[in-house]
Assembly symmetry: C2
Amino acid sequence: MTSMKPYAFGIDIGGTTVKIGLFSTDGTFIESWEIPTRKEGEGAMILPDIARAIMKKLKEKGYAADDVEGVGVGVPGPVFEDGVVNGCVNLGWGVLDVRGQLSSLLGGMRVEVANDANVAALGEQWRGGGKGFKNVIMVTLGTGVGGGVIVEGKIVAGAHGAAGEIGHMTVNHHETIPCNCGRKGCLEQYASATGIVRKAKELLAASGKASCLRSVEDLTSKDVFDGAKIGDEICLQIVDFVGYTLGTALTYITSVTDPDVVVIGGGVSKAGQILLDAVDHHYREEAFKPAKNTAFKLAVLGNDAGMVGAVRMVISN
Amino acid sequence: MTSMKPYAFGIDIGGTTVKIGLFSTDGTFIESWEIPTRKEGEGAMILPDIARAIMKKLKEKGYAADDVEGVGVGVPGPVFEDGVVNGCVNLGWGVLDVRGQLSSLLGGMRVEVANDANVAALGEQWRGGGKGFKNVIMVTLGTGVGGGVIVEGKIVAGAHGAAGEIGHMTVNHHETIPCNCGRKGCLEQYASATGIVRKAKELLAASGKASCLRSVEDLTSKDVFDGAKIGDEICLQIVDFVGYTLGTALTYITSVTDPDVVVIGGGVSKAGQILLDAVDHHYREEAFKPAKNTAFKLAVLGNDAGMVGAVRMVISN
């Protein structure tokens, strides 16, 4: 800590925009901005664009390159421990040495790279739902289901850059409809926003029960949780099913690293306490004693989690 | 590495004996011996006995206490990161500061403490089935089912000292017979030596098929694997079932930390390649793509894994 340079950047590369944050190395947020993600030409311009944006900001602020402790980067694909990205379809990248290339573009600045779900987990552990705890598992429930694993305040990357890839655990061996991954019965098919809507439609078709969902045109997972909050029976049934599926999967997941806290984020988590309660209830029924006290928290950083976690990679001691 | 003192001890505390190993800090094994585990008086003599054995050995060898880099200890119970044991029924211990107490008894020597399954995993990662890999999950199939998780060459202890406690994952929600833990459908009920024998007896009773097992008096899991090796149909069916149950559970487990290799140890693993093949087959059918290449290996250190892993805790750099 004593010998750290004063500034650092946290960067979250998304499919549409790159979010860049400037921080003091004591962790204070200074400012953030976005630049477009130019995916043309196999994404060859993405890293030069980022380097240019950083150098421009330094000039604007009157900081020297040597005032920068480092640059942390979150990438939407698997990343090996050495900062090499193992292909990233969303950005047009094949195998790419992001750490090495970005560092060269920045005149040898220190660069750390990790998968975006893992980086978001680190952000939530440091400043969000997992604040105060060193061992965190983050589950992101969005269009898909992702996750990140933090042990002793550090990202677990995994041998194939796939640690925390929990969305494709087979939780239902009787499923007949395939998941996006081609297999059947993945957690993602039940606990993602898409999965919740699918389940709702199935139940509405199979049941003759009245439900507030029947009058909704473009059904979303939010409608399901909203209905459950006002006591709609079909909605309550779906929320309980999501809680059961995710809660059970989490007993498997927590038995591996035994985290202090599980942080639930992503669009579906906006449902709030009703989701936590449903997961918590089934988790405690199923969990082995030593891990029964694992806490469940909502993510709090939203879209900033990636940027915040990214800078953390270069300013943790 | 450069400033390391020349010697270190690795200690594996079991319910009957304590195994003590003397090593050079370059990792060379010098000698090992055992002392009885005196459990009387809530196990109050265990740590003084160990300290006395170490001091006696140093005297015998003509080494000074200051020649010892440290003492690593594996304990059959949950251990927090600070070396405090969170109760250990087998030894009569309640919550006990093993690191602090043993260090005091040894005049301030460095002591590191971890759970025995985790320590065995570290031993196998360093010198055994996981040699050459930094990210290892070890599964121990004995009377029960245990596990240990190694990330970047270090033990993952967990927030409640319960990381790697995979034996009580509920893998069968339809089980009617309770596990030792009081719950139903735990992995341990199917993949332990006890579980394999139970399954064999069930199948023999339910099926009219001929089987070499019918003439065996005290059926063991070894009989089942031996039968499978000579093509006995009932035995093959059981081995396939064990492979399916464990292989599926391992897809959940590997999705969390994404290890390079899964090491399978414990008495059941003496079955050898036929067990690995059964697990491997079902694992690859169920695993999500990025983790499909995880290797499966047999443990090689047997009862020495604990002692070897214990010393590793104080001589890894």
